[in-house]
């Protein structure tokens, strides 16, 4: 690891580094001065996933002297489609270890600082303290607001990127003159209204595109070169390959960075985002549940059960248990396809959407409806391992 900055506080480059960065050094926009700034810079990457992978890889290659990584997660197979810092052999390892190993292999002159933790209101300011720039590569609203507020409170720029399916957003928030994330969105959506990547999917290349934009903005901020995305929101539509730019303004009434801020310390962001307890658990009070083993036993026994699959057609193509397919959003207009005198078992991938379907059917007068707990994933785990998981 690391040729540390404590032995070279002025961040001078040795012979090997000069050769390594020669394509930067011969560019007037970087040059020796810029490369030394990069070496002296300390950048914190929150998350080493879809956005964090390309971000950290390029920052390491570019010669950012100190890279902090915050992650608590473990590499799994579904990550490999886009989290290119991790390989198939890394499945099951800590993302932090996997990422640090790749970064050190790319550039041994970079000092990697690992934070094996979930970023929280308790640790964020402490972790941010030793860094100049924060790059947000997280995947949920509570952490987005936490990172923003911690950046505003500590006066550090928040290089922001986020993605959904084939659409992305990028900006630079929380600089001294520029707007912050809360200027744009004072509050998060209530849980469930906006699907997550795990539910909505994401084109694997898109985080690459957006993460590299974040890396570009980080490098520009360090060099003091070009026009950073301050006060601008870049919208990326990978399907149409269209880029649009919207103007962002610093909101004088912003609770975080306005003239009379009400956010003067970090708050409980799960509560702020309306999330209580475990995120994945569907709101299932009053919804009759059936376990996969019970469903299997009753189907085998020849019971008259109608299996309703409320996922999307493309999910049905991946795997199904022979249920009748009506996507959740189509249910209100297709409810007439269902026979309320029969016993119905609704399922989706994990049990969240089907709980909503059951609630809807109950309101529509259906008396004998059950939600399959854990959805088709639980079926694959506990009943039929031949059913592929996704």
């Amino acid at each position: 690891m690391a040729i540390a900055t404590e032995t070279a506080p002025t961040a001078t480059l040795n012979k090997d580094e000069i050769l390594r960065y020669s394509r930067h050094l011969i560019m007037p926009e970087v040059g020796m001065d810029g490369q030394q700034k990069l070496k002296a810079a300390k950048v914190l990457c929150i998350g080493t996933g879809g956005l964090g992978s390309p971000l950290a890889l390029y920052l390491a290659a570019a010669g950012v002297g100190t890279l902090g990584l915050v992650d608590f997660d473990v590499v799994d197979y579904t990550n490999l489609q886009r989290q290119i810092i991790h390989t198939t052999a890394d499945v099951g390892r800590k993302k932090l270890d996997s990422a640090a190993e790749k970064l050190e292999a790319i550039n041994p002159f970079v000092e990697i600082k690992k934070f094996d933790t979930r970023l929280s209101s308790e640790n964020a300011l402490e972790i941010f303290r030793d860094f100049d720039i924060i790059a947000d590569g997280t995947d949920n609203f509570p952490t987005r607001y936490l990172v923003n507020d911690a950046c505003v409170l500590s006066g550090k720029p928040n290089v922001y990127g986020s993605i959904f399916r084939f659409e992305g957003q990028a900006s630079v928030f929380a600089t001294e003159e520029g707007p912050c994330y809360r200027c744009l969105y004072p509050e998060p959506p209530p849980p469930g209204l906006v699907p997550s990547c795990a539910e909505g999917g994401v084109l694997g290349i898109l985080p690459g595109l957006v993460g590299v934009m974040q890396a570009t903005e980080v490098v520009k901020l360090i060099l003091g070169a070009g026009d950073p995305l301050i006060g601008r929101l870049l919208l990326i539509d990978a399907l149409g390959m269209k880029f649009r730019e919207l103007k962002l303004r610093k909101n004088p009434d912003c609770p975080a960075c306005g003239t009379r801020p009400t956010i003067t310390k970090l708050i409980d962001y799960n509560e702020f985002c309306g999330i209580r307890g475990e995120e994945e658990k569907p709101v299932s009070s009053g919804i009759p549940e059936i376990q996969v083993e019970e469903l299997k036993r009753r189907l085998d026994a020849g019971d008259d059960l109608f299996v309703l699959d409320v996922r999307e057609p493309h999910e049905y193509q991946i795997c199904n248990i022979g249920g009748h397919l009506i996507p959740l959003n189509d249910l209100p207009k297709r409810v007439s396809e269902l026979d309320s005198s029969r016993e119905i078992v609704a399922h989706c991938k994990m049990g969240g959407r089907s709980a909503k379907a059951v609630a809807f059917l109950q309101q529509s007068g259906f008396k004998k409806v059950h939600n399959l707990t854990g959805g088709i994933i639980a079926w694959a785990d506990r009943v039929d391992p031949k059913v592929p998981k996704y």
């Binding site: 590569g137 995947d139 609203f141 399916r165 149409g240 959003n329």
Partner: protein, 103 residues
């Protein structure tokens, strides 16, 4: 038809861009042509065409949800005349919700 050349302008036909998470409530369309003189007109025309969008964009009290912003071309309408911002033919209105994905 002998309509004046700028006929669409008289109707104030504008295009509203629908973001990915909301397309499922707008007949899977990426953009919807709407008529009206103001941003409010355009939005109510959109809701009339795609009623399912309403609860995703507005609270029960009819207020635009705070994780959704509306842009007229590249300007946030909050910094123009909000709902009363006049629109012209060929304007692009964008609904820009917050998205959080990144892993």
């Amino acid at each position: 038809m002998n309509l004046p050349h700028d006929f669409p302008h008289l109707l104030g036909m504008a295009k509203i861009h629908i973001p990915t998470p909301l397309r499922q409530y707008a007949g899977k369309q990426t953009a919807v042509e709407v008529a009206g003189e103001t941003v409010a007109d355009a939005m109510s025309d959109l809701i009339a065409k795609h009623p399912d969008l309403k609860r995703h964009l507005y609270t029960d009290g009819g207020k635009l949800r705070s994780f959704v912003n509306i842009y007229l071309n590249d300007e946030d309408v909050r910094y123009l005349q909000k709902d009363a911002t006049p629109i012209a033919s060929g304007d692009n209105i964008s609904i820009v919700p917050s998205i959080a994905g990144g892993l």
